[in-house]
């Protein structure tokens, strides 16, 4: 726990890393300063893009003692403001799942190779990032903890599958190797409470270590203080649960 006589510092900057297919992509890396080895977290950003909120959250995790990397999953769509790039990706129907898994696996490999990482790496995602984090945890070996915040389309109808998204993430559940924390708003429609029920049933079916929290009075994106979907009490509680979960499995 931080107290005011302690020295605290973070170094944060844009870096280049190797992602899917050996592509060079950019990422935001934040590390706590100081001696010793730290746990790490990979962030899977949301549909609104590799944006200011995600740079802030990368920094937030580092302030809590985690080497944190947020790869730009929209890198190949071109460059511009995060919104302009995200709008293009939205129009294109998102990024291919295989590519996103490759980019998140690349981020895992990047932090694992750092001399100041303790060997434990979690993955955190919100919105489409929650879905991507679920996919990466199931398909890319090596994640030690998973946080899925309101990831929609983990459960998918057959007519929703496509060349870019050929398999519903829920179908990979049997391969999930690590504990999962899921945070959901009961007023959300992507995912709906019924879809979260299906997700939970699948985790139970395969005997997975999971912890789901479902908030009344909240819908999608209730951590987003800059949007009307923000719910202060639920967000404060949710962040406490995120850090308690990561402390349990990564430290």
């Amino acid at each position: 726990m931080y107290t005011t006589e302690m020295h605290e510092g973070v170094h944060a900057e844009t870096i280049t890393m190797t992602g899917a297919n050996g592509d060079s992509i950019n990422a935001y890396l934040a590390r706590p300063l100081g001696e010793g080895r730290f746990p790490a977290v990979v962030l899977a950003h949301h549909m609104p893009g590799w944006d200011a909120w995600y740079r802030e959250v990368t920094f937030k995790f580092a302030l809590h003692g985690y080497v944190t990397i947020s790869p730009n999953l929209f890198f190949r769509a071109g460059h511009g403001t995060p919104e302009d790039v995200a709008a293009k990706v939205r129009a294109d129907g998102g990024m291919p799942d295989d590519q996103v898994v490759g980019d998140l696996a690349g981020a895992l490999n990047y932090v694992r190779a750092l001399s100041y990482v303790n060997g434990k790496v979690g993955i955190f995602g919100t919105c489409s990032g929650g879905r991507h984090a679920y996919l990466a945890a199931c398909r890319a070996p090596g994640f030690d903890a998973l946080v899925d915040c309101w990831g929609g389309n983990v459960v998918m109808r057959p007519d929703q599958l496509s060349l870019k998204m050929p398999v519903a993430p829920i179908d990979y559940t049997k391969d999930l190797p690590c504990p999962i924390l899921g945070l959901f708003g009961n007023d959300d429609t992507t995912p709906s409470p019924e879809q979260v029920n299906l997700h939970e049933a699948e985790l139970k079916k395969y005997g997975k270590n999971y912890e789901f929290h479902r908030y009344d009075g909240a819908g999608h994106g209730f951590f987003y203080y800059h949007r009307p979907m923000y719910r202060q009490a639920q967000a404060v509680d949710g962040w406490e649960k995120v850090f308690a979960f990561l402390e349990k499995y990564l430290i």
Binding site: M47, P48, A77, G78, H79, G80, T81, E83, D84, V85, A86, A87, K88, V89, R90, A91, G93, G94, C127, S128, G152, N153, Q160, T190, G219, H220, G221, P228, M229
Partner: protein
């Protein structure tokens, strides 16, 4: 991408973005989380020219009722233009 409701159409015309006027060749229409409008979901229209990069974009985000009213109004204006003989001869 949360709702997976996103369509693209080819269009012709001009749009005024942050750097002035540019030629439009595509409209991207989605019903999904907006970036700015104060709703959980909005009818989002991006008037773009992808050959000019992501910043060549004129964006609007509308409530569903506003979007429906806009559709009706667009069609009404076109019907009046046709009745008045203003549309280009084909």
């Amino acid at each position: 991408m949360c709702t997976m409701i996103a369509e693209k159409i080819k269009i012709e015309g001009s749009g005024k973005g942050t750097n002035g006027w540019f030629a439009l060749d595509q409209a991207d229409v989605s019903y999904d989380h907006p970036f700015n409008a104060p709703y959980q979901y909005a009818l989002n229209i991006d008037f773009v020219n992808e050959s000019l990069g992501p910043s060549a974009r004129v964006a609007v985000e509308l409530s569903d009722s506003a979007a429906r009213e806009l559709v009706r109004t667009i069609l009404s204006a076109l019907e009046q233009a046709e009745a008045g003989g203003h549309l280009p001869k084909k």
